[in-house]
Symmetry: C2
Subunit: 418 residues, 2 copies
């Protein structure tokens, strides 16, 4: 299968991963559905509300009895009772009558509107004076006005948010079918890598950075994930471990190999991948900086990402390619539709090379006037501190030669908070 | 304690909650730190890297031996060996010599730079021709160049991201001190509320919406949370349950009471809160729409939010006041610094009332040219479907009279995805 070095453009990578199908589905409890993707359209099993409900504190009335009422010419109505919350009212509103009601109360028979408390003056215990009129169904939600029984409330592929959980609760929907999240396995490779828990590290060795950082990110995003530790550059052992990670119980859907980014190491990773069952090297290199030496392959229906060994490159590839890929496996479509960014002004020129997409690490600052500006983080590209000091990334597209000083750019911020 | 109806402006609420101190601290494993806030500054215990490391594949050389080399006038060097990954090189680079090295390898003694492979041509097994010169320390990270031993790498109050976990792993930092997350209790109140699992609901009753939606949101954000079910409008029982939620083992830091939004109900909630030990009603009403009937009180060091019973109001108050408050308790500062929004054009006028902050539910659409525009979701304010159909909110500030058609507004999107 060994193929020639196939470098593809970033935009092409996004197209390739968009072709993948979601994994299987599972039924989950509604209350744990935030952030999950529906695998079926949901139709409303009921009308919401299922009875006419007041949306205000005030008096249930017949709207026609209020016509003509004004500040200057108030009308009088007889108060015949009060609606208790949670129970149907036994009395009916007859012409010239009103019944006190609070927000959420069930409209009594005969009434077709609620007049707000602030337009009513209690003259005595049984009489109110109203200073404005109401139209039919004013301050009332009629049965099915919020949601009609049988209507589609959420399409297949919908990302569930907490308000959606609320609507499902209102309708008594207790469990839902969603796409399952991919199971992920991580293996760090390299003769020079020692576990990050190593206190005193031998000369020439370095602690595993990619294993912990990728793990912490994916765990915080709720993925089921298993770590397979560190393997030295030993073809047989790496191949065995890849097979174990992908096929042993529980099998993984996606294998992330964090390997060396040197040319020899890449060949080695490609060789191991080529020996996996039904393997296909999809691409071998992305036209980006940093992050070029990235490998993507499949083994049957499973996916393998060979991430650059360089921590900075590996982090950026995770954010911009691996995570969108995981989202596609869990059923999310069009995730780029409304990407949240922060607009900031560039204070320097950002030159780039045509034919390569550049990720520029930037810090955000506020100027005296409260405007935001983005400043590139200086330092050698291999320094992890350039990532930790940055607030986000500016992307220079593949077919751009960069941005000029003064341009307003979109910054993709690192922090996950809403 | 019963105080007069105290309505405060939204901006004032944000100032009030910003005055709260973070809760205690706890030590956690680094790999679970994404999204947590550091309670102590972290200093680097080591130099990173701790040996001179190559950042490229190529040859370790003495930079002075390369001066003058060019395409037209290449220089020759003797290759005396190869650096193995993960072990120190035993040979030294002497004048006129070069040693093969891969990315991440330890620079051999005598060398002070690495010349990239692409500028080297192998003439025979022991000789290379180089076509450019390198400056001292080119393509090398010197010890401590990424991070110096003893330097501050993260300040107190820093929100940990996955790259920060990576840097800590590189430095062998295995556990860190963070602010603990507030423990939250939820109680739904109301005679009309039945559990959302109720199949057939009696006339006049409605299923609990706020309990499940708030729970699902806070669980997805990783808060430890306990549900105390539904209490009818019974002062004694509600007071008992509030005390249990706040003080019994494990005690909660924050109590969320989702109550009725009717005037009577608010009085009832205020009365119960006033009977809690060391209680203080901080405000009673926020000048916002929707969400006005919101109560905030303290009981000693604990906080109580009385959320509006209206699901839409309750959701908005959660997003804009309760969650920022929780973030402050867990040590996050300046969360508004770089709020991520989506810019969109308004296609209609959005009038508002001076003196009140308005949250407008909007849907985002793309026009033919790819531009984004925001369209208000129409429908009565009490309809939950206005929230589920919206993509986000546009905020009209307290002292604004609205936005005109054509204005570019910031939309705060609901989805949490990065």
């Amino acid at each position: 299968m060994m193929e020639f070095f196939k470098v593809v453009e970033a935009e092409k990578v996004l197209k390739i991963i968009a072709e993948f199908d979601p994994l299987g589905t599972e039924e989950i409890c509604r209350d744990f559905a935030c952030g999950r993707i529906l695998s079926c359209q949901i139709n409303s099993p009921e009308n919401l509300p299922h009875f006419p409900r007041s949306t205000m504190d005030g008096y249930a009335v017949r709207s026609q009895d209020t016509y003509g009422a004004s500040e200057g010419l108030p009308l009088m109505l007889n108060v015949t009772g009060r609606v208790s919350m949670g129970t149907p009212c036994t009395i009916e509103v007859k012409p010239g009558e009103a019944i006190a009601i609070t927000t959420g109360g069930m409209l009594p028979k005969g009434a077709d509107a609620v007049i707000m408390e602030e337009y009513c003056h209690l003259l005595d215990e049984e009489t109110i004076e109203i200073t404005r009129s109401v139209t039919p169904w004013e301050n009332v939600l009629r049965p099915g006005e919020d949601v009609k029984k049988g209507c589609a409330i959420f399409p297949r592929g919908h990302l569930v948010r907490f308000q959606d959980v609320g609507l499902m609760a209102a309708l008594g929907i207790e469990s839902i079918e969603v796409f399952r999240k991919p199971r992920i396995a991580i293996i760090s490779t390299g003769d020079e890598i020692v576990p990050s828990g190593t206190r005193k590290i031998p000369q020439g060795k370095v602690r595993d950075v990619n294993g912990p950082s990728i793990y912490s990110r994916l765990i915080s995003l709720g993925y089921p994930i298993e770590r397979f530790g560190i393997v030295p550059d030993d073809e047989r052992r790496l191949l065995e471990l890849c097979k174990e990670a992908l096929f042993k119980d529980p099998p993984s859907d996606v294998l992330l190999l964090s390997g060396g980014s040197s040319i020899g190491m890449r060949d080695f990773t490609v060789k191991v991948i080529s020996k996996l069952p039904d393997s296909n090297l999809v691409f071998h290199g992305i036209a980006i900086k940093p992050g070029k030496p990235t490998i993507f392959a499949t083994s049957g229906k499973k996916a393998i990402w060979g991430l650059p060994g360089h921590p900075v490159s590996s982090m950026i590839v995770m954010l911009f390619f691996v995570e969108p890929f995981l989202h596609i496996l869990e059923g999310l479509k069009q995730e780029e539709k409304f990407r949240r960014t922060i607009r900031a002004e560039l204070r320097v020129n950002l030159p780039s090379v045509h034919g390569r997409l550049d990720f520029i690490r930037v810090k955000l600052h506020r100027d005296e006037k409260g405007g935001l500006f983005a400043e590139p983080v200086y330092g050698k590209s291999a320094m992890i501190s350039t990532m930790t000091e940055a607030d986000g990334l500016v992307i220079i597209p593949t077919h751009s030669e960069g941005f000029e000083q003064g341009t307003e750019v979109d910054v993709l911020p690192f922090h996950l908070n809403p």
